[in-house]
Subunit: 219 residues, 2 copies
């Protein structure tokens, strides 16, 4: 299917014109981001924990230590919500009230499954590494059996999913337009800075080419 | 108190050396960030919703439409978790396993109160606006009575709070050091881009000076 079907839980109600269910647009947001926030509740108390992720097909992978409270809860099959947000700019209006942000966000609801098969875990590890820097996994030492065993990997299916997008200029009240104050959008750009090498690199360990961070190139 | 007291719910257990409870360090993370993720559960299903925020003293403010499901839930006094995360860099190891991110995050647990007093709501609106751009509130039209009534503002006390910080180079296995591959940290910088003005600005609406975005200046 080309679009996600909104459910009672993922239908964007507030500012419904910002709701996006197109699958390719959801993929694009998930592939540009690299940080998600995982929500789960224990004894009624919600927790929101930041972590990395990577998408493969219609799943996102989350990973970490099997000792992590978040991963253990997810592995136990609790209901989770995973959210990815990209802030594209600050929106400046002539009125305090209409200040806003431009953003793209994806909200995913569901239950995760634990990856048990070492071959599937290896595929996930490759995705995590190459999601940050394409081709990186092929350059480095792959995970050992012990490292794979020591990594818990969870997959959340992209089934109950919605995205929300705000873009463009501020809303302005007609009465505010004559005010002599700047209004518009200040875009925000995230870029890789000067790499900081370890001091024990061996000869042949060429500096990393920042152009390889393709997610940042279009901006 | 200079530090937050960890509770059973906020004690950082995994990688405990990354736990931070110092009040000034928590403030610094919250004042540099501008996006939070609010977690709450309805009928057992957790939701994680991105939104802006601003800190004033020992509270953070969240605001929006009274029709928002998130704000209504918070206003009803449900348990919430609000998390702010800043990603400082990608950490590249010679092994796939030790790849990581440098980050600073704050997790806040508790219940919010609804601001009912228009004067207090006005103070919060000033904080929201000036949190993004210092001095901006004094330049623009302040909220009208109707706008204040149409804005729901919630305050979450900074009581049950913890922060987590990862910084510095990757962990490396001794056996990986001879590998001829780059390892180190690629910092990430977020900066304001070229402002995009509205096309109906009046004379005297001077371009916004990007140096005023003080949160980005030190980077």
């Amino acid at each position: 299917m080309e679009t996600f079907s909104p459910t009672a839980r993922t239908q964007v109600r507030r500012l419904a014109q910002r709701g996006v269910y197109d699958r390719q647009e959801v993929y694009a947001i998930l592939d540009e981001g690299y940080l998600c926030h995982v929500g789960f509740a224990l004894d009624g108390q919600p927790y929101v924990i930041p972590t990395g992720y990577a998408r493969l097909g219609d799943e996102i992978f989350i990973h970490g230590s099997p000792a992590s409270r978040m991963l253990r809860a997810m592995g136990d099959g609790v209901d989770v919500c995973v959210t990815v947000t990209l802030v594209d700019g600050f929106v400046f209006s002539r009125s305090a009230f209409h200040h806003s942000m431009n953003y793209r966000s994806v909200v995913m609801l569901g239950r995760a499954r634990v990856l048990a098969d070492p071959a599937e875990k290896m595929i996930a590890m490759r995705r995590f590494t190459n999601h940050i820097l394409p081709g990186r996994f092929e350059e480095v030492r792959p995970p050992s059996d012990a490292e794979l065993r020591g990594t818990m990997v969870l997959a959340l299916p992209l089934e109950e999913v919605s995205a929300k997008v705000r873009k463009g200029p501020p809303i302005e009240e007609a009465g505010d337009v004559p005010l002599p104050v700047w209004a518009g959008v200040v875009p925000l750009h995230t870029t890789p800075g000067v790499p900081v090498p370890m001091d024990d690199l061996v000869p042949g360990a060429a500096e990393i080419d920042r152009a390889r961070f393709t997610r940042f190139n279009a901006k």
